[in-house]
Point group: C3
Chain length 131, copies 3
């Protein structure tokens, strides 16, 4: 298993982690299977979507802030319940097929770490599974 | 890895892909492990839910259209940001256990490809992982 | 594959299933790979989030009840469409890396079975995948 680390510079920010994921897969030498990308934190998410136009990520961020507003009454005293809920909506992990040594992301797909409660240093685990 | 293809006939439509998934698993000959069903597109999703009553899928579609409305102001110029966001909410992949040669879908569970920006031809990758 | 069973005592309730998951992984003897935790039902979900403060789970439950309200008009006659939709939003499975015999949940992460249409007896499958 490989552990990647990312410093998230703001409260809410989305980091493109595709290069780290594909490099960890390549370094494993495994030809066929899958790549599990896993975030061990509870106020950050992992998702796959378009990476070509940064406006897509901006729209995702704006949607999540509106859909899970900071201003609702929450019971959790730390004040970061929206971050916990947003990470459940995106999920905290993705699994991508690995075939003939290639991580099978689609043409427009990138892997993103979504920070919902930064700035922090975040770990992302990359585990290779075999077919 | 097996690639399934589906033509989605409308802008928003949900396709039951269960038969293709179970057939790809059977053809692999693998008895125990898991089946990864992965969509390499950024405006379509994969999810598991009830397939017996088509009204469930209709309710899911109606919910997603209301929850991520087309009419919000979005920055992405292509006009399909709701499709990107809906695909993040459903996720673009599922992993199902494989035990004694059987894909362990529950009694009412079917696997669906949710098209949010069709009509298009969509690939779905099926990769078998071993236990 | 191991099957865990849980009796959910109420219509909507969240059950911490972390201990069952980690025990099934330990019993497998596998050192490196991943643990797939899969719910074969269509009105319950599986998610990972903070388990230290029960108020986080309470906030997640309240959010999902508001975001997918019972009072909308739904077509599915059984009246449990919100439960189906909530299970799609959380997802019905999680995959967690296994490294050196340890399930790599983060410090605050627990695995939850979210019952959206109980009380029922629910199965949860735990399958170990190898690296």
């Amino acid at each position: 298993m490989t552990t990647l680390q990312f410093k998230t510079p703001a409260t809410r920010v989305t980091v493109d982690i595709t290069a780290g994921v594909t490099e960890a897969a390549r370094a494993s030498g495994v030809q066929d299977g899958a790549v599990l990308v896993y975030c061990p934190h509870t106020t950050a998410g992992i998702y796959i979507n378009e990476g070509a136009d940064p406006d897509v990520v901006a729209d995702v961020e704006a949607f999540l802030e509106e859909a899970v507003p900071q201003g609702r009454p929450y019971r959790h005293r730390e004040g970061n319940s929206p971050a916990h809920i947003r990470s459940i909506l995106t999920g905290n992990a993705v699994t991508i097929p690995l075939a003939a040594g290639r991580v099978m992301l689609g043409r427009w797909q990138h892997v993103f770490l979504a920070e919902f409660d930064g700035p922090r240093t975040r770990d992302v685990y990359v585990q290779i599974l075999k077919t």
